[in-house]
Symmetry: C2
Subunit: 208 residues, 2 copies
């Protein structure tokens, strides 16, 4: 039981660099498994089913909700997004730390259902830097950028609900931070319940 993996949820402002951090983390260390979300939105150019997302119809998605097949799901802009339960539970049982890269709304759902999960919030070092990164991507219109920045302000209200804040001003440092958090978590008493019970029982024999 103590050897179960940890559920690590990574959220953050759009443009903060979550995806890059997660990719490097997964490629650097063996201990992590990346959960792939399911969505009903159409694939964008270059997106492959089972890599960026599992793509499904609205009917399939709603059926899966009914079956309790998601550990969290939410609806954004008319599309469903969810984390399929089976993969996550299998990896955790095998001792892998499972990374979920999901929105704040989903992250808080996960924390409620899995209090032992870790919520990490990725942010650029400043608001101006966030604006520069969003512009630098050259993938969005001015209006979309303004929308993302405005939404970032709303999301910043929830930062205190996170267990850890990852300030992304250096990719390698961020990856080291996330890895340290994962290793540290293994030493939390909540994940050492069996051990604590066993050693107490063992020591009892010596008590006067």
């Amino acid at each position: 039981m103590d050897d179960k993996g940890t559920l690590i949820v990574i959220s953050g402002f759009s443009g903060a660099g979550k995806g890059t951090i997660v990719k490097k983390l997964i490629n650097t260390y063996d201990r992590y498994a990346l959960s792939i979300s399911m969505t009903t939105r159409a694939p964008r150019e270059g997106e492959r089913d089972g890599v960026e997302y599992f793509f499904s119809t609205k009917e399939q998605f709603e059926e899966k909700i009914k079956e309790g097949g998601f550990i969290e799901h939410a609806c954004y802009c008319g599309n469903y997004y969810g984390t399929p339960r089976a993969y996550v539970e299998k990896q955790l049982a095998e001792g892998k730390d499972v990374i979920l890269e999901i929105e704040i709304q989903g992250a808080l759902q996960v924390k409620e259902r899995f209090p032992e999960s870790l919520l990490l919030f990725v942010t650029p070092p400043t608001a101006v830097e966030l604006e520069n990164r969003l512009r630098g991507r050259k993938t969005e219109t001015e209006e979309q950028i303004a929308g993302r920045l405005s939404r970032a302000y709303e999301e910043s209200e929830g930062m205190d609900n996170y267990d850890y804040i990852i300030i992304n001003d250096n990719l390698d440092k961020c990856v080291e931070d996330v890895h340290s958090i994962a290793l540290a978590a293994k030493c939390e008493p909540i994940r050492k319940k069996d051990f604590i019970k066993d050693i107490r029982n063992g020591l009892k024999a010596y008590s006067k």
Copy 2:
């Protein structure tokens, strides 16, 4: 303010190997400063003033208590032990993570006064292993060993009060665990208050 060091308190069963872990940690990484306790007990053979302990008279110690010169102090077996405040506060202000290797009673005092401190509990993997290590040291009588084991059982009741449990079955792994905990702590929101305030203020300009 966010760059202040972290107070890291290391306690654990007598014979668990705290001292060895702390020594290796300090010798491996620059970021740590080791706090040296003050005591009124007589130096043991080979102990040097200012290295293992600061040795003082009972009168000097009690004067220092009155001046508020300790961040914690306690009396064991008729001798005072305490952590001098000045050194700890100077190192923390300079951004060093300060290691205190102290007893459980003192550790809980520190947590009460410095809620942001981290309490680490070092334990061998099993009760039998603890007994073997105590015997292996060949520094104590059978009666003393029995006393330490009996005390370990009492102390095990307090393990849940600790933030982290370090199971010492491999020295290098323990050092890595403590270092990961120190790095992870830097990302806790409680230590990022100024940053969170600043980025919220920065993002407010973009809110619609």
